[in-house]
């Protein structure tokens, strides 16, 4: 985006390197982009809240919210208005300053991720050369907000939830971070755009099908992202049955909605990151990144929009998977959660890194082997998908039901 602002300054006949107002233009641009990104995050989180309820309802053979707007789409607006008009309650015994500040820490940790998160070929706030490192670092800021809210609420439930969340996020940061190192190794860069450029538009060019260890890394990353986002089956910090609502028990009104905004917005973040790192990002099948760079005029705009659509499409699919998982799996216990992290994910992520390191040397020596492996992985992936679809159709058939997606929305 700095390039975009530089071009803007040049357009008005100044040299950004010497013009004294350059920094102010940058500042204004930053404010503008921050505003846009936070609103994007808030609105997507709102829409996800509606989508999740509809998906959940369908999976439980219900209909879900469908009264406000077409298909109930404006339900999230109604909910937001309701939350805005509610009383902002602060418990008498709470640490008032920290209690009030905690939601903003969450928001900051969450919104900062968007700085390095790409949307399309050109659309990224800052293509930093440490992009992934930055994202992993600022995501950890959320845990500060959670602990602040849990501690300052002066409630046992809140504190338990916060401690659980801290333990969970810190634990899963390790396998998650190491799993993300595999695309970094394969691409040779930490920049999010660089990692996407190192992949291709077609599925066998994605990192997820690069080799078995990369696939495992993708699974590990996805599980860790669920855990870091406090999503089911890792929603122990908010386990209703034990902790009422966890760290946000004492919150109400708009402050409460911030927590949920972050939770739902996190679904976009984790899915967009998975798309960026493993699934080819905005790469258009058959169009190389170099072609995109070279395109001008109308073609450039069309390709840009196409790349945006591809990225958003992939991300929304994984958002759906996250919702789908939530309504499939039960919540796991704390000891199971810890077991899974330290006994399975951490060793496996180390093994995957070692395997990829060796594999890269092998492919460097015999490039044909890499192509064969990609082909095998892709065929296995397609076979798996076909089998999955078959099983799903069988599940419908076995109960004497029939495929009916359109009625009763």
């Amino acid at each position: 985006m700095q390039g975009f602002l530089d071009n803007l300054i040049r357009h008005f006949g100044h040299d950004p390197a010497t013009w004294p107002w350059t920094q102010f233009v940058y500042l204004g641009g930053m404010a503008l982009f921050a505003f846009a990104v936070i609103n994007f995050a808030a609105i997507t989180a709102g829409i996800f809240s509606w989508a999740e309820r509809r998906v959940a309802a369908r999976m439980q053979s219900r209909v879900g919210p469908n009264r406000v707007g077409p298909g109930g789409f404006l339900q999230w607006v109604a909910d937001a208005v309701k939350l805005l008009t509610k009383e902002d309650l602060v418990p008498a015994e709470a640490d008032k300053i920290l209690f009030r500040a905690a939601p903003y820490f969450m928001m900051v940790g969450f919104a900062c991720v968007f700085v390095a998160l790409p949307f399309s070929h050109r659309l990224v706030i800052a293509d930093m050369n440490i992009g992934i490192f930055f994202i992993i670092a600022v995501t950890a800021l959320i845990v500060v907000g959670i602990i602040m809210s849990g501690w300052s609420s002066n409630s046992k439930w809140s504190l338990f939830g916060a401690i659980r969340s801290a333990a969970q996020i810190i634990s899963y940061e390790i396998p998650g971070g190491i799993a993300l190192m595999i695309p970094v190794m394969l691409a040779g860069t930490l920049s999010t755009q660089g990692i996407i450029r190192a992949q291709g538009g077609l599925p066998w060019q994605w990192f997820v099908f690069d080799n078995p260890a990369a696939f495992v890394a993708f699974v590990i990353y996805f599980i860790s992202a669920l855990a870091e986002g406090n999503r089911t089956p890792f929603d122990l910090p908010e386990a209703e049955s034990e902790l009422v609502s966890g760290y946000n028990t004492e919150y109400s009104g708009m402050r409460f909605s911030y927590f949920f905004l972050v939770e739902w917005g996190n679904m976009w973040v984790m899915s967009a990151l998975a798309t960026t790192m493993f699934l080819g990002g905005w790469q258009i099948p058959g169009v190389s990144a170099a072609t995109l760079d070279a395109a001008t005029g109308g073609t450039a705009v069309a390709l840009e929009l196409l790349s945006l659509a591809i990225f958003v499409g992939k991300t929304l699919f994984w958002v759906f998977v996250v919702m789908w998982l939530r309504w499939t799996l039960p919540r796991i216990r704390v000891d199971q959660m810890m077991n899974m992290c330290w006994k399975y994910l951490v060793p496996m992520s180390f093994a995957a890194v070692a395997f990829v390191a060796v594999w890269m040397l092998v492919v460097h020596a015999v490039p044909a082997l890499g192509l064969v492996m990609r082909a095998i992985m892709f065929v296995l992936g397609v076979a798996f998908t076909v089998f999955f679809v078959y099983r799903t159709a069988q599940n419908i058939r076995d109960t004497g039901d029939k495929f009916d997606f359109t009625s009763n929305w």
């Binding site: 999976m59 053979s61 799996l329 599940n395 039901d401």
Partner: protein, 408 residues
Amino acid sequence: MAENVTLKPPSRQTPGAFGAYAKNIGDTAKSFFEGMSVTLSYMFRKPITTQYPDRVPVPVRDTIPPRYRGFLEVDMDICTACQACERACPIQVINIDILKGDGKTTPKLRMERFDIDIGKCMYCGLCVEPCPTGAIQHTREFEGSVQFFNNLVLRFVPDPLVPAVPYKPPKGSESFPRRPLGEITRRLIVAWDAPTPPFPTKEQLEADKPKGAEAKKGALDPAALGRQLAARALAAKEDKPKLQKVLEEAMAGTDCGDCGYPDCFGYSNAIAQGKDWAPDKCAPGGADSKAMLETIIVTLKTGVLPEQPAAPAPEGKAAVGAPAAAPEPAETQGPPLAQTLPKDELYKVVLDAMAGTDCGDCDYPDCDGYTKGIVYEGQKELDRCAPGGEDTKAKLYKIMLGTKPPAA
């Protein structure tokens, strides 16, 4: 999905550490796979829930069982005004106001009001059971959300000034032409969410009074009718069928069966045959039927008609079972008002004669009490009204006895 994951019999050989580790991973992957395919399959099926209330293929009331106890409904066209439902109701949900007629110019019974308070109803169904014609029934209507609770009262007689005439079921009929169940109540429900009318003001109540009195014109005088019937009964003493007909005229004629006989014929025949001497079994007829039957039965037993009132006025005074009707000395100047006026009218006249100060000097709490004492309870002392003095005393003596007060 579960059978693939947990229900496998444990293998005999316990797996080694690595085997268990690999098996856990395999189980996890498998349960993810199966579980997610199950949930996804539900995503592509039709939800089983219905979208009540406005997106259902048929109204919900048509899908619930026919014997469902919903809101009550009364078909006034086949209601016999027997009030069996009102008596059966354990919590006084049903309110029926009966307007009595003489049976000639006006029907014997008419219903000024037939209200069912659905807000209070507990849907026990006890009112439905005694109904002789099936006029009162439970419908399958159940949607009772209203803005104003008072609107939950179903008024089956819409206008009290147009009282409903009861249905006379043909003798021995088993079925009655009832309107389709739910039609009437549904029409009443439509008006439910109108705001309730405000409580009437005192002026409005006063303005309504003469109208009510007008509607009551031609009301029956049970005592006079009782004497007439008693005379006819005495004449037909030996002719049992004729006597039975006379007796049946004193009854409400609703064939409700509350008396323990199947219908009015059964009860009247039992009296005519001398098998039953109880005059108080006709519940729909109430106190009036009881008084008339008592007059007839006493007449039949003694063989003499009850004393005629002194005045030949068409509205004769009650002769039987009324304490204040004790014979009073007839006067030369013609009968006093006390003997010519019905008691309610007399009450007004007497009250008018009082001083109206409610002083309590008469040992009654107020003028109203003293008036009631004189008119209804046989209070003989007419000189207790201190504020009224000689004037009131003279008036009272004139009204009650037709004489001048004795000199002090």
